[in-house]
């Protein structure tokens, strides 16, 4: 069976600021990032849908000790965002000085933008990454 939404398609869409997910035709659950089966019912009958990119921050961390090759990025904020459509995705938050990140971030409304990870010697090429910004509340 064909893999419905491969990484390369998701990545190319996200670079154009379009966040894609998969909606299950059986239970309507939205899965994002993509995978082979519905994250709720394991069904394979999935349809590619464009998501709002909007949601709220559920957790965050400021990373001070990064992996090899990413020293120039640190410190930076990583967030887990619960999208309006249900799934959680991981990305960065650039709207705030990383030193000032606090529990006040939890619950803040955000929308998805995009930044580019060029990859490193262990990566199979580049990857788009969600870069969130605050929504006016």
């Amino acid at each position: 069976m064909e893999y419905k939404l491969p990484f390369q398609d998701y990545h190319k869409a996200l670079l154009k600021n379009k966040l894609l997910g998969l909606q299950c035709r059986q239970c309507q659950t939205v899965t994002c990032p993509p995978q082979m089966s519905c994250s709720h019912c394991a069904g394979f009958d999935l349809e590619i849908v464009e998501l709002s990119g909007r949601g709220r921050i559920r957790s965050y961390t400021t990373i001070y000790v990064p992996a090899e090759g990413r020293g120039s990025e640190a410190p930076y904020i990583v967030v887990l965002v619960e999208l309006k459509e249900g799934p959680w995705i991981m990305g960065n938050l650039y709207d705030l000085d990383p030193e000032r990140a606090s529990m006040d971030l939890v619950g803040r409304q955000v929308e998805t933008g995009v930044r580019f990870f060029p990859g490193d010697k262990y990566s199979d090429g580049p990857a788009a990454r969600p870069a969130f910004r605050f929504l006016a509340e």
Binding site: P33, S59, T61, P66, E68, L80, Y122
Partner: protein, 393 residues
């Protein structure tokens, strides 16, 4: 299925900058385990070896085959297990099944790792390979970052203010370092720490500071497993593996319906408890996967020792110390004993077996009268395995 016993245990010193190779470290642990079980290479029918980053740290893959032949176990089947930090526990579970099934009577199982040879930047990079490379690493996720996200989520989900959670996490590290000073194999056997030192250390990934994090480590541990009949000839103090469990998780963000619980751990430990016919209240001591201080709290809850959001009270009330309700990581744990990741599960099982045999009184950290112990190992954000061990004498 046949009963399967741990008939011998071996454990090297855990250290930073070990002078020996991964193969040499494994061989030292393995020969100690074989000597304890009064057995030798001619009796070993198969080898199961946890090893994660040999390819990166020494440029050495496929070490299981070399280990078997170096030990004089010529040409026996040897298999390497890669399940990130849970590799050796997966190896033990598989070795258990081959003996339980009747296919083999005596096998050797363990793990070895030399993480410090990579240095912190490369080690941080390779450890991050235990998270999702396409959808989460691009954001810069590291392993401390993974548990840092869970720490803030834990605070928010269970209404434990960050100030109190900070104190609870510090107590976890203080206790681990206290017991680490009593373990002659511990990487930090000479280092006690105070709660203030933990809570003021330099930030790795907020809110986790240096002393919230386990170290990078080198070392090995090994066990001889034998069928009940074979074990009776090898040891007076067999420790039976009475329950095993293993479960898998998706990437961190896809665990959302359950977080900060690790659902796979709840599934895995239930298998192990059910197989052993016990519940968490029957466990006399536990070695759990404290890769980060917050990870201890989450694990203690997932394993059934505390309600969700309440595990910090176990440490606050001294329940996790020797003499408390459920002694946890009185080896020093990953935090102070060290965490050579391919060996960690074998180290935990070795530690619990020695506790159940009553071997540790001289070290001043024996849990008196312990009969049942639990091993809990987490690999990456996905792999969980649990073992129930019971004194069989």
């Amino acid at each position: 299925m046949r009963k399967v016993a741990i008939a011998g245990t071996g454990h090297t010193d855990f250290a930073s900058g070990a002078k020996k190779t991964e193969i040499e470290l494994f061989c030292e642990a393995a020969t100690e385990a074989m000597a304890e079980a009064s057995t030798g290479p001619g009796d070993i029918q198969a080898l199961y070896c946890g090893n994660v980053f040999g390819d990166f740290s020494e440029g050495q893959g496929m070490i299981q085959s070399y280990i078997a032949n170096e030990l004089g176990c010529w040409h026996i089947p040897a298999t390497r297990f890669e399940g990130a930090c849970a590799s050796a526990t997966l190896a033990i579970r598989d070795a258990f099944m081959w003996v339980a099934s009747g296919f083999y009577d005596i096998v050797l199982v363990g793990g070895t790792e030399k993480a410090t040879a990579m240095g912190t930047p490369l080690a941080t990079r390779t450890f991050a390979m235990g998270s999702d490379s396409k959808y989460e690493f691009p954001a810069g996720l590291t392993f401390p970052g993974f548990f840092a996200l869970l720490a803030h989520l834990y605070s928010d989900t269970y209404n434990v203010p960050m100030e109190r959670l900070r104190e609870q996490m510090s107590l976890v590290s203080v206790q681990s370092h206290f017991y680490g000073t009593k373990n002659p194999h511990a990487q930090f056997q000479h280092k006690e720490v105070t709660a203030e030192e933990v809570s003021k250390g330099f930030m790795v990934a907020s809110p986790l500071r240096l002393l919230d994090c386990c170290p990078f480590s080198d070392g090995a541990a090994a066990l001889v497993l034998a069928s009940e009949d074979a074990a009776k000839k090898l040891t007076d103090k067999p420790v039976y593996i009475s329950g095993v469990g293993q479960a898998s998780s998706p990437r961190l963000s896809a665990q959302a319906p359950y977080l900060p619980r690790i659902r796979a751990r709840e599934v895995s430990v239930r298998q192990a408890y059910d197989m052993a016919g016990i519940g968490p209240e029957a466990v006399d001591l536990c070695e759990l996967h404290d890769c980060f201080s917050i990870a201890s709290l989450i694990a203690a809850e997932n394993l059934g020792f505390a309600e969700n959001g309440k595990a910090g009270e176990l440490w606050e009330n001294g329940e996790t110390r020797i003499g408390g309700r459920i002694p946890i990581n009185v080896s020093g744990g990953l935090k102070a004993k060290g965490h050579p990741i391919g060996a960690t599960g074998a180290s935990q099982a070795c530690e619990v077996a020695r506790q159940l045999r009553g071997d540790l009184a001289e070290q001043g950290r024996q849990v008196e009268g312990a009969r049942i112990g639990l091993v809990d190992t987490l690999g990456g954000d996905g792999v969980i395995s649990n073992l129930v061990l019971q004194a069989g004498f």
